[in-house]
């Protein structure tokens, strides 16, 4: 807890942690938004969420290797993941979409392992990053440093979120998706092609993750086996915020980013992952405890 001393004696440093945390939290929120969408519409908890993120990162990494500008490559990474999501839906997800949740968790978990191992095989197990070629801002007499790319990625994440929200509200497909989320059977009776809606939803989610991964590889690092942490983060954010509550997802995402940053600093980097997963357990137990006090209505 030596680091706590630092925070107390130099409060400005906690501002640094807070800013970094919030900026990275926007990416978590983006991936969580996708997870909430799939969960809400398809009643599937996608355990390959984190692997989609990492795959998006590797895609951007490869595109920049062959000479693309990293920012122009973001839409390409998203498009690539859209295709991956579409294909995965038609091969696997279509068969589990209306089965019980355990099957869907296990099947997407299997996809996650498959993707991890594929990435490991293709890209190698090393940690990779992409240098976007941006500067750093120094604030308060150099007490705080802010990487410009983090700010840029924050705004890209926000913009993507807004575009998605508009898409869900304004377009016919978005409305069909929302209708299916409320009641798939009724939607089907009223002529919504739910199969197409599911495929699109899953693919859009993959694309969101792809974009998030592209931002991660520029602001942070990626590694083939780092996906599970993103899945768990997304899941936690959705649990805290509730499915279908966009603004809560954003706040939970930013909050988680900040909390994680502080924990990583205070406990030491080696315990940061342990913190995330322990936090998951604590949140679930706490949520359960609260639910237990509430009503249960049995017919």
């Amino acid at each position: 807890m030596d680091n706590l001393q630092i925070l107390i004696s130099a409060p400005i440093f906690s501002l640094q942690l807070l800013i970094d945390g919030i900026l990275i939290g926007s990416i978590f929120a983006l991936a969580a938004y996708g997870m909430a969408m799939v969960w809400g519409v398809m009643k599937i908890i996608n355990f390959a969420q984190g692997e989609f993120v990492i795959l998006g990162g590797f895609l951007l990494f490869s595109l920049t290797r062959v000479g693309f500008n990293p920012f122009l490559a973001i839409p390409l990474a998203a498009a690539g993941l859209f295709i991956v999501g579409w294909v995965l839906y038609h091969i696997v997800i279509v068969r589990i979409v209306e089965k019980d949740l355990f099957i869907s968790i296990l099947a997407t978990f299997g996809i996650a392992i498959l993707l991890q191992q594929l990435m490991n095989q293709v890209f190698g197990a090393d940690v990779q990053t992409v240098d976007p070629g941006l500067d750093t801002w120094f604030l308060f007499d150099n007490a705080i440093t802010v990487l410009q790319i983090k700010v840029v990625s924050f705004f890209i994440a926000v913009a993507l979120g807004i575009i998605l929200a508009l898409f869900m509200r304004k377009t016919r497909l978005g409305q069909a998706i929302r209708a299916t989320a409320q009641d798939a059977r009724s939607a089907r009776i009223l002529g919504v092609d739910t199969n197409r809606v599911y495929a699109t939803t899953f693919a859009i989610n993959a694309a969101i993750c792809g974009a998030a991964g592209a931002l991660v590889v520029m602001t942070w690092v990626i590694q083939p086996f780092a996906g599970l942490a993103y899945t768990i983060r997304s899941f936690m954010i959705v649990i805290i915020a509730g499915i279908g509550n966009v603004s809560a997802v954003i706040f939970a995402g930013l909050g988680l980013g900040a909390a994680e940053n502080f924990a990583g600093f205070l406990l030491g980097a080696e315990f940061q992952a342990a913190f995330i997963f322990s936090l998951l357990v604590v949140i679930l137990v706490w949520r359960n405890f609260k639910l237990r006090l509430q009503r249960r209505y049995l017919k």
Partner: protein, 353 residues
Amino acid sequence: MNIPGRQTLLYGIIIIASLIAPGVMPAYQTQLAFLWLMVVFALSWDIIGGQMGYNSFGNIVFFGLGMYATAVVQRNMHFDIEEYVHVAGRVETLTPVQYLEGLFLGMGLGAVIAVAAAAVLGACILAMGMRGQYFGICTLGLGVAAGELANGWEYIGAGSGLVTPVFPDQLGERGFFFYYIFFILAVIAFLTLRWLYSGRFGLAINAIRDDEDKAEAMGIHTTRHKIVAWCISAFFLSIAGGAAGHLIGFIDPTEVAFAGPTFGVWMILMAILGGKGTLWGPVIGAVIFHVTQEFFWTYLFGWQRVALGALIVCIVVFFPMGIMGWMRERWPERFGYRVEKSQAAGASGGGEL
């Protein structure tokens, strides 16, 4: 048709074949030992995953706890800790008696710790009524968190792992010795579960699986059964862990002890493949899975883990009922599901409802 006679014959054949297997195939002793480990994995997962319907992704926690506990006991009993860590376990070899003392004491202590952990976790999670996917994800978090904590804890070697003492030569081949340890463990686990499933306990956890609300409404002590079931699962896993650590010889926190993505997923998969919620299913699933996996390792160099991922998806998506489940659906009469004419024929007309 003499069913009990046939059953005895079947058990006899399996036991005799298992007893002579390591002698017949000395080159495969270690793989065969792992085969029994897989059987223990699948059986112990199936207690709560299959029979009770609580799909745990984190049972690997107990495996890791047992493994570390045994290794630490072995280390602290016979060695100076600092010196041991410094030379990474390559100190003078233990005498067979010392080795066995440490091993069995460690396994015992590991079992106590793991059962206590299961009871405490059960009180926090199961007794509070966490169910379904939330239980699954919570246990997944537990498994990974345990690995990460072990990864940062210096006392047990942190990320650089822990080496178990060298196997003393006087005890013969390491693979040979542990083959029988795992074989005995698997047999005990199987017989214990067969006994448990045939009485009240089995029916109670099945009732929890089928409809927990109903079980509560009928007054079944659901919490007690859930926690005890988890403890039994933890017990076998921790002993298996203690022995596995010594067989492998090196304990890596996330790759060996709390190996969620490998052992942790495999135990679920094997139970599903064989048919979860049946007694023989996990055993059959473990054997088939282990052989397949060894096959992958031999012939798909480099791509075996990819193939394994694909296999998981295929089993879960296309064959979720498993071998025994499929057979039960195909020939229900063989499993005793049949209409039986009553002696008091036409006692009442309710049957035609």
